[in-house]
Symmetry: C3
Subunit: 406 residues, 3 copies
């Protein structure tokens, strides 16, 4: 993608630099009463955030490659961190073995590059599910086979970058796998089908035992409040699985996933600790108004963003590419809980149910720049731990993202 | 300035790397009694600090440019942060439109590059005033028109990088503008006149309301103690404005500014909350002993540092450029306060008055290196909140800065 | 070493990029009872850590060089920091004058590059001793003369990067020196002898006085617990000194050091505060099974890692270099303390005694990559502050390091 690269005389050594910057401006439109049963609690009505600001340093020697990617953005920005640090070996063409901190392939929305997203953030269920044994900067050992018509990836995974800043007596261990294919593909059409799953067979153990917390922000990060949240669940293990589908026809694209999460709560005498199940899914579509296709990437088993046929030129008359997007997304973090009965009585959890209906418009002046306007209608339905009070909220969010990636 | 740059074959894409490192060693010379009425309170009598350590990554495509600049120094050093992350579009030559986190143009001393400073730190009044709606890594949208004889810049501004780490219910919004010109300019002479201003029409609001805090260190950052400080003022809005002048004749330069700050305190029943006004200014001069001029930069509407006519060469005999500098700077953060009466009784504030008389010597071995010795006499006159006790202090500071910039 | 470099047309300006990434996976094998007299206290039985992830930016102009090296790894990882930021001037060939934050030359194991280590971590006594007035990112001014047969280095040193985040009333000041030589050297043989020392003549002073704390992890950093620890000693000054030896014969190498640390405790009326002495040492050896030598580096006065004669090639048949390593290391942080008597009664300290017997195996597929397996047997013998209870522990550690350096 046009990253500046230096190569040694004999061609064996190479170094390249890439970058990705996403800067968001926006706010929430909300009625007077706040959330969490607290009228004063308000989401940020106008703010800015540097969502991602990554510099990709890549060094290669023969078929070995090192990737080191600091990130100066975040949720919220202000604390530089690391997106990935990994070692790659590709002994045969479509096989890549990787070791270190990185994002193992998991599901369709997680495999898509964050430069190519239809909406600002990943669907809630994907963000929550990938956090269990996959996600950014996860300690992983595994590989990917990315052929023309099918894609397979499997990893053993551990803790994430920075998790050692609190002392564990044993780190998390898990596994992640993804299998996908294009049963039908021609110049105008791509049909994508797949299945993905993860299993944390041992959750991170600290002095006070093992636990897992599932939660997410409302697919928008000008404000960092998480409105759905299971709290820390004492648990031994957890798994996720789900099917994925995608369809492109010319400049139209549609994709979706369903994911189910299972949590095996730790047994304790005299306390109800049933197994818990959570679920969610999303469907999203894109129409590139100027006609460019969102081409399928065989390397990641996911769709890319459109490449403008006529890049924007103040003098010339090119206007770049324009795209309209929409999404419906739902997550349900309630389980084994009964309205009117406290969580402690059932061993279940009122994590809340979040529905997001979103619309968006993108402008791609050229292959490097993107402007993206997002409008979401969010409905959170959640009871407090006693099961008596509604602490959810209905509101709208608006955000404009400016993106430069190369 | 000789930054290493890679350009693509067709010349449309370019990437360049720049750097700036400033490392300070110094200490305070102080009499036995400490400040703040506490005899044990002492400024650091010998220490080091990495003031700035920036790597400038700049990527361009046609007339778009992305700047991403991490900073590994600080006040104090130890916490890597971000100096800027912004998107630029320059459709016509002297016009630059910019969006993202960066330092919007504000006043003369703030527009000068930190590589070119006459003294180690900006004058106190400038540091305080630019902190209200301008300053480093400020969320801004705006532009600059920088012609041969005049300069105009205006921005809408929001919060700064990292400010989302505490939750706001609405971010700050404001505006910054600067208008300057060179009514007279010939080979030997530059006369600079200008006016600048800023207005925070909505201060950052958190759960406990809106507030503003004005304070600064004694124009020296080996120690991080701020001796003048208004504390958090409950306020709705604030503004600043001031004139600027500059004069260069051959290798002599003189410049100065006056700034007035107005704070509109939030009204509360039964509590006096008058509008507050603070002010300050500075005059500083430079004599480049070896004769080189401090050339005027039309791009920033400010003076640059001298470029040595005969770079230092151990063998050859060149000794680089040498420069003597001096400054008088004053800030008054007292208002509506009466000696002997508590702040709460008047609604005013004993923020303190700080005077700094400074002298300096610089050696520029070549265009990249600079060594800078600074000696300041600081006098802080400040009463405690009760208005009864002097908590100010008189002392000297010494510091040597080593700088490499390209 | 093949770092990508850009040079200006006239050859006077140059910029280069280097990198070092070390990623560790491992765990502790330990019996049921925990350490510190606490059965629940356990070392991490399985975890990962990004030990080092450094990007070396180096800029040169004539005989001046600037080095700026962020580090995205750590102990533990998660908090980006700075490894060095320094200015170098080399007016005559083997002389290098350096100023800024960096690691001044101190002892044999500390002078060795962390890419070339025989075991994962430096010997405990070296880690502890270098922490007093030397170590990474130390404020230093000094120089090195590195000739073919002898090496001399001396520095004035101050605080380290990030130490200003707590306020000092005066920073540490000290000195570090190292003198070493190769009395005998031929193609097959290098004999290295040296002596090193440091003196912190003024320890960092904060509001509560001056203090020094000596401690270390068990030469393994999957878990960050320090099992030997003197606690904060109220002290005025401290020194270290020790001899070093090294011997290479063909592909065999043996090296070792002994270090003695002296701490001058601050006097206080009615409290015993004897001078304290601690000591330790190590011997370690390497056998490069495939025959390559660990060449001596005259620039650092230390041995390097082997350079594979036949780099690994999946197709060709080269298998890189293989090496077996072993170490015995001991540190004693007990002094002036008597079993059964509390520390306060004697003014001494039960810091603990740590012995580590380690074995390792390295694979170097090529000059950039290294895989390193380490197995340590650790025995910590330590009494609590009352002198009555054993709080030490015996355990094994295992770790695999993957390293990419260029």
């Amino acid at each position: 993608r046009g990253r500046p690269t230096i190569t040694s005389g004999d061609g064996r050594f190479r170094a390249s630099l890439g970058g990705q910057v996403q800067w968001d401006v926006g706010g929430a439109l909300q009625d007077s009463p706040g959330f969490g049963g607290n009228p004063a609690a308000r989401l940020d009505s106008f703010g800015q955030n540097l969502r991602r600001a990554r510099l990709f340093f890549s060094l290669g020697y023969d078929d070995f490659t090192l990737n080191l990617t600091p990130d100066f953005g975040g949720s919220p920005d202000g604390t530089p961190t690391l997106y990935e640090a990994n070692f790659n070996w590709s002994p045969v063409k479509p096989l890549a073995l990787t070791l270190g901190y990185y994002k193992p392939y998991y599901g369709l929305a997680d495999s898509m590059s964050s430069n190519d997203f239809l909406m600002l953030e990943r669907p809630g269920i994907i963000e929550i599910a990938r956090g269990i044994a996959a996600g950014d900067s996860r300690a992983s050992i595994g590989g990917r086979w990315a052929a023309e018509r099918w894609f397979a990836a499997a990893y053993l995974t551990g803790d994430s970058y920075g998790s050692n800043s609190t002392q564990a007596t044993s780190g998390q261990t898990g596994g992640v796998a993804r299998l996908a294919g294009r049963p039908y593909a021609d110049a105008d059409t791509d049909v994508h089908l797949g299945v993905t799953g993860s299993y944390a067979f041992d959750l991170r153990r600290q002095a006070d035992g093992q636990s897992l917390r599932l939660r997410d922000r409302p697919e928008w990060r000008i404000d960092q409040t998480r409105l759905i949240d299971t709290g820390a669940l004492a648990a031994d293990s957890a798994y996720t699985w789900g099917p994925e589908f995608g369809l492109r026809w010319r400049n139209f694209m549609l994709q979706g996933e369903y994911v189910r999460i299972g949590v095996n709560q730790s047994q304790a005498s005299g306390v109800p600790r049933p197994d818990l199940g959570f679920e969610g899914g999303y469907v999203e579509g894109s129409w590139v108004i100027t006609g460019e296709p969102r081409r399928y990437s065989t390397a990641s088993g996911a769709f890319g963003r459109p490449s403008p046929a006529r890049p924007f030129d103040f003098a010339g008359g090119g206007w770049g590419a324009w795209e309209a997007m929409a999404r419906y997304s739902v997550v349900d973090l309630n389980d084994h809980a009964t309205r009117g009965r406290a969580q402690a009585a059932t061993g279940g959890v009122f994590g809340g149910r979040q529905e997001v209906v979103g619309m968006g418009l993108s402008w791609y002046p050229n292959n490097f720049l993107r402007f993206m306007l997002n409008w979401d209608i969010v409905n959170v339905d959640r009871l407090n731990a006693a099961g008596t009070t509604q602490i959810g909220k209905r509101f709208h969010t608006l955000a404009l993202r400016t993106q430069f990636a190369f």
